[in-house]
């Protein structure tokens, strides 16, 4: 009896709470009655599945990178422009499929994936006051590049230039490049001389900042090209920007003239090398940091007399430097190269038509080179100033003196009259100041003034040069 009363009381409270809850639910149900829809369970599950799928797709779209507007515009405008073929952008399967298809078409376009035609073109006008001459000139230098495999390639350059009344054709280089390792390559054929850094790097018309080329690193001083085999490559030095650049070659050696018209003149373009007529050489360049490099090049050969009468040692050397620094709203570039030529022969012996014996001398030692400083604006507010480049270059050549002796026969006698003369060493100095205006990154208008001084009565000359050059 004592326990029945609390139980009854708890039951009443439970019933009361249940009634209140039921009333509240009833009231709420009444309030929500108009928005409640009753659906079959199967349909409810289908709706849930669709909702889940929609949520998944929405999340995928939200996480995909946004498509650049420009790309979309291009896509709409042109389907053949290779510049719009990047698969980046919209992550939609349709866009990816289109990109794959377009890339496949681009790779299959003839002449674009294996072969490239490039080069340079130049035109110039020159006026010199010493000989009162002036005239126009032009040249065209197409370069052919073939990609054979990732390790093999072929490259060749032909220079077409006007000379007198003809068009002169020069095969500048024609070589096979074989990549042996990540650092070294083997080059076969006719290649630009690695020891002559100006020819190899700065000679192309649109790269050379002045309308003409420096003195002292061409004919008689250094070779421009070699026919043979070359091993070249680079070795990183283990710190940022440090690198050793190495090349070594064996090639046909030069020949020298035995003609009395041009005694001892060195011809580096000797394509008929004899058995003992081999040149060996190379260059070592030290890139101290990304914007400064010094180098030393050498070639030793036994130059062959062009009449086949013998061989004589010829040593050619070159030191060079290249550097640049960004300062004063522009880039300052310094180039320098100096060449030494030492031929262990200083005369030839020939016979004139009257039977006279001539010992014709020529300079055994020649040296020469240049230093060039240029400035081009980069960050001036005016675009015009950023297109201007100012160049100053100093050139110099020297040659040792030599003697010439003539043994003329005396008529009605077996004796000779000997006369001799000595030609002193010569020295030529030239200063050039030039201004360039860059129409585009690779098209330039050039203007330059030169003053040349030649020793021992050679006189002075002032020259004005104007030209243009473009890389193709």
């Amino acid at each position: 009896m004592n326990h029945s009363k609390p139980i009854i009381a708890r039951s009443r409270r439970f019933v009361a709470a249940a009634c209140i809850t039921a009333s509240a639910l009833t009231l709420c149900s009444a309030a929500l009655a108009e928005e409640t829809v009753t659906v079959p369970k199967q349909e409810w599950e289908e709706l849930k599945r669709q909702m889940s799928e929609m949520r998944r797709r929405l999340e995928k779209v939200e996480t995909a990178p946004p498509a650049p507007a420009a790309t979309n515009n291009k896509l709409a405008g042109s389907v053949t422009d290779p510049k719009v073929l990047k698969p980046s952008g919209s992550g939609s399967p349709l866009f990816a499929s289109f990109s794959e298809l377009a890339n496949a078409v681009e790779l299959g376009r003839p002449g674009e994936n294996k072969f490239l035609l490039t080069g340079s073109l130049e035109g110039a006008w020159q006026m010199e006051d010493q000989f009162h001459t002036s005239g126009f000139s032009a040249s065209f230098s197409p370069i052919f590049l073939w990609h054979l495999t990732d390790r093999l390639s072929v490259e060749a350059e032909v220079e077409l230039e006007l000379e007198d009344h003809d068009t002169k054709v020069n095969l500048e280089y024609a070589q096979l490049d074989w990549q042996l390792t990540d650092y070294f390559s083997l080059v076969l054929g006719k290649f630009l001389s690695p020891m002559n850094i100006f020819v190899e790097r700065y000679e192309p018309k649109w790269i050379n900042k002045l309308p003409d080329t420096p003195l002292g690193i061409y004919d008689g001083f250094l070779p421009e090209s070699n026919v043979g085999i070359q091993l070249r490559g680079a070795v990183p030095l283990g710190y940022p920007g440090g690198k050793l650049m190495l090349s070594a070659f064996a090639s046909n050696a030069p020949s020298y003239s035995t003609s009395l018209d041009s005694p001892g003149e060195i011809d580096f373009d000797n394509f008929n090398s004899g058995r003992h007529n081999i040149a060996v050489g190379g260059r070592i360049g030290w890139q101290l940091c990304p914007n400064f490099e010094v180098g030393y090049g050498i070639q030793y050969s036994k130059a062959q007399a062009d009449d086949g009468s013998g061989y004589d040692p010829l040593l050619n050397q070159s030191v060079d430097l290249q550097g640049w620094v960004d300062a004063a709203k522009g880039r300052w570039t310094l180039l320098g190269q100096y060449a030494f030529s030492h031929f262990q022969k200083d005369h030839i012996i020939g016979t004139l038509d009257d039977g006279s014996q001539v010992q014709a001398g020529f300079p055994a030692r020649q040296d020469g080179g240049y230093v060039q400083l240029s400035y081009r604006g980069k960050t001036w507010d005016t675009d015009f100033l950023n297109r201007l480049e100012f160049i100053a270059r100093g050139d110099r050549t020297t040659a040792t003196g030599f003697s010439t002796r003539l043994d003329a026969p005396i008529e009605s006698s077996l004796d000779f009259i000997t006369t001799s003369s000595h030609t002193p060493g010569t020295e030529a100095n030239r200063f050039t100041f030039g201004i360039d205006y860059w129409l585009t990154t690779y098209t330039v208008l050039k203007a330059a003034y030169e003053h040349t001084t030649i020793s021992h009565g050679g006189g002075n000359a002032d020259t004005l040069l104007i030209g243009f050059a473009t890389g193709l």
Partner: protein, 107 residues
Amino acid sequence: MKRFFIILCAVALLGALLAPHLLAQPKHPAAKTAKAPDSKQVVQDSDSDGIDAARLWAVTCSRCHNARPAKTYSDAQWTVIMQHMRTRAYLTVPEARAITAFLQDGN
């Protein structure tokens, strides 16, 4: 000739003295964020070989000539040209590969 030698030696010495200073400098901010001209975006600051392709492109090409805009050539043409330049400019294969990828991505 002696004067030329003196000038060359002086400049070389100056360069040698400046080299450590230049090397100690942080990367040029412009080069660090360099873009291939006309590119829409910086595509690759460093590749799998740890090479800063943008900086490498900026300093390597302009060493001898004005660097050409990426859009000058197609991707396939850049492959051919960089194979040529790898030999000519004494580039290692990883360097050439990084510059090629940089130009192609900026194309």
